[in-house]
């Protein structure tokens, strides 16, 4: 394993890692891409059968299964592409405009 503290180097005021090595831990999740969204997917929990098709087709991988076995997008990351709205076989997801 790489000791990430040892591969740090100061360049000017910034500290970078040699060879731009980073720990593989999915740190893009520090950035909340939900701010990109202009439309928001809303799931009708009555209609959702929990099939998981929306989950499998989400480019963000931000749709999660809840304790009730139904699926919902994590709005911190959802960019509002609306593939889930388009692909839901139950038409259980609707798009609603984000308000300012």
């Amino acid at each position: 394993m790489i000791d990430f503290e040892k591969v740090k180097q100061k360049v000017g005021d910034t500290e970078i890692t040699i060879g731009a090595v980073l720990e593989s831990k999915g740190s893009t999740s520090n950035t909340k891409t939900g701010a990109w969204r202009s439309m928001r997917p809303i799931v009708d929990k009555e209609k959702c059968t929990g099939c998981g098709i929306c989950w499998s087709l989400c480019p963000e991988g931000c749709i999660k299964k809840g304790d009730d076995e139904k699926f919902e997008a994590d709005l911190d990351y959802c960019k509002g592409c609306l593939i889930c709205v388009n692909e839901c076989p139950q038409k259980a997801i609707t798009a609603v405009a984000e308000e300012k």
């Binding site: 980073l22 609306l82 388009n86």
Partner: protein, 305 residues
Amino acid sequence: MAILGLPEEEYFAPGHRACAGCGAGIAMRLITKAAGKNSILTESTGCIEVVSTPYPETAWRLPWVHGAFENPASIASGICAALKALGKEDEINVIAFGGDGSTYDIGFGYLSGAFERGHNFTYVCYDNEAYMNTGIQRSGSTPYGASTTTSPAGKESIGKEEWKKDIMHIIAAHGSPYVASASIAYVQDAFRKLKTAIETKGPTFVNLFAPCPTGWRFQGEKTVEIAKLAVETGVTPLYEIINGKHKINRPNDVSKLNPVEEYLQTQGRYRHLFKPERKDKEIEFIQNRIKENLSLLLEMAEKGF
């Protein structure tokens, strides 16, 4: 745990900077799910490299190496050699991937070399049919008639004038034991093919069709719908070449194909084929060639080739 037969674990983290509705984003989730924890990934320059690693962040939860545009297959070769030296080649999956620009064009020689040397790795091309990251330039994978910035449609041009390169058979000709075409619209089929490719010993290849809303000019919500249409119209037939023998998944009847216009009309890159007036000759040419291609594939499968 699994949903629809796919592992629930995510190795491609949210917060990556891909466009809303990115087909390649779905492709990455599928590739990493099929690869699993004991894998090393390597990737060429391209959209996914750029959007997945805005330094100092990374979307990867698996070891991932970025190389130059041409050499993911070469890096994979080196990783395979190192694993062999360590006696770990049966424990760790090596997966190289790149977009179609890297796979069909820039990295093609290196890819060919790695397949000729016969390393035990899987190469996946996420095929969005042009150089999207640099601004939609044509590649060897761009289909006939598509307008890109370097094959612009206009009075004297119908868009790209050459047919898409047949990468599947080129790779199969290297003697690869498993070559498959898959689509992000059929996730279970794609997952099975990726998994089979990874589990098959030797150099294996999957061409994973992934529409690009930005480059093809359509609304992001249509990504999967368009990928499905591409299969139903026969534009991207799903098939496998297993030890040199063809197996066609779908579509499997030329007479039942949806007309290709249904697919072409959904995308801005083909708009000039319909407006200001319909270009019957070009559409017919595309339609006929699609039918010929599928007929040939079905015939090869039937005759045991």
